[in-house]
Symmetry: C2
Subunit: 190 residues, 2 copies
Amino acid sequence: MIYKDLSAYIKRTVSIADEELSHILSFFKKQTAQKNELLLAAGQTSQRTFFVVGGCVRIYFKDEEGQDSTRYIAFENMFATALVSFITGQPSLEYIQALEASELLYITHEDFNQLRKKIPAWEKFYCNYLEKAHVNTSTRLLSFTTLDAKERYRQLLQRNPDVVKRLPNKIVASYLNISQETLSRLKSKI
Amino acid sequence: MIYKDLSAYIKRTVSIADEELSHILSFFKKQTAQKNELLLAAGQTSQRTFFVVGGCVRIYFKDEEGQDSTRYIAFENMFATALVSFITGQPSLEYIQALEASELLYITHEDFNQLRKKIPAWEKFYCNYLEKAHVNTSTRLLSFTTLDAKERYRQLLQRNPDVVKRLPNKIVASYLNISQETLSRLKSKI
DNA sequence: CGAGGCCTTGACCGCGGTCAATGCCCGTGG
DNA sequence: CCACGGGCATTGACCGCGGTCAAGGCCTCG
């Protein structure tokens, strides 16, 4: 059953009645994505929050020269959404892309917000999600402002080795915000 | 009345009954700080969330060499807290410091969390606070990963000119995460 | 088998950091 | 009231990290 992992994830995060949980789950729909498929282009407004059942998805944006900068990578049992756009209601600067052939569940932002109004436990879940996102983003900000390229790579190897093992250099470099060439040189030195 | 601005701020953010609001306000205590006074040293655990009535406060951390990196600056009518530590309950990596002689209101993290459990509107307020924090941190991350020093300075001038006008170069440089010398050179060029 | 994408390696260079000298402003005490 | 000292800002000299450009090798897929 494809909803099992999502169900378990929600139960782990907040305490919730079974009927409420199944009500929530009923708004999640199945979606599959091919490798490299774009799930949200920047500028788009009607949007979805994804739960990764299998595969892998990233959030990224482009700078003026069209270079990617990857902000977040979601593997199995993780949520992925263009959160800033979700919060502000503005068109997104962030893109969402499948990095592998992926099996996903999604809920539209509209349904998500309706549920927040009706089910306090879901509001609580959202609040918890925001907390995690903030800690994550702050940690990232700390890396960029205090560490050089080599130290950021070491930290990634230690804290999130799957990113390095599972994904091509191109993506890893974009996640560390360094060029592919620099990453290649770092790898050969360590 | 010193609570007037805080009261107005909360009312602007969430809808709340008057008696609930005054209950919340009763947990905020007055505190004054001298210029440069440290309100929270990194490593400390018992903590406070501040509301700036007058003056100015910053959140910052230090890297290995002891250089500051300023993460957030709060002027009048803004909240300031070491949010990551608040969320995780871990000792803070972030310092809080008054940049001017300041008049503040504070609530302890313990009281803050008690109120979240009792008053749904306060939970909602917290959720809204997290949303703002996330947008802010994400925007900052975007600047650091896509803009060079000059462009970050321009952006700051445009979006938050008070920081440049009101605070010494030293702090502005730390907020932009560049050296004081580089900021000085940028200013002379623009 | 050929083409295109990804990784590696070398050459080069520019942004921004460090160090040091100097100037300026301001608070404090003789 | 002036002299001094300390903190902040400016400017120059220097240099290293990491980016760009280009060439070459390898793997995969049509």
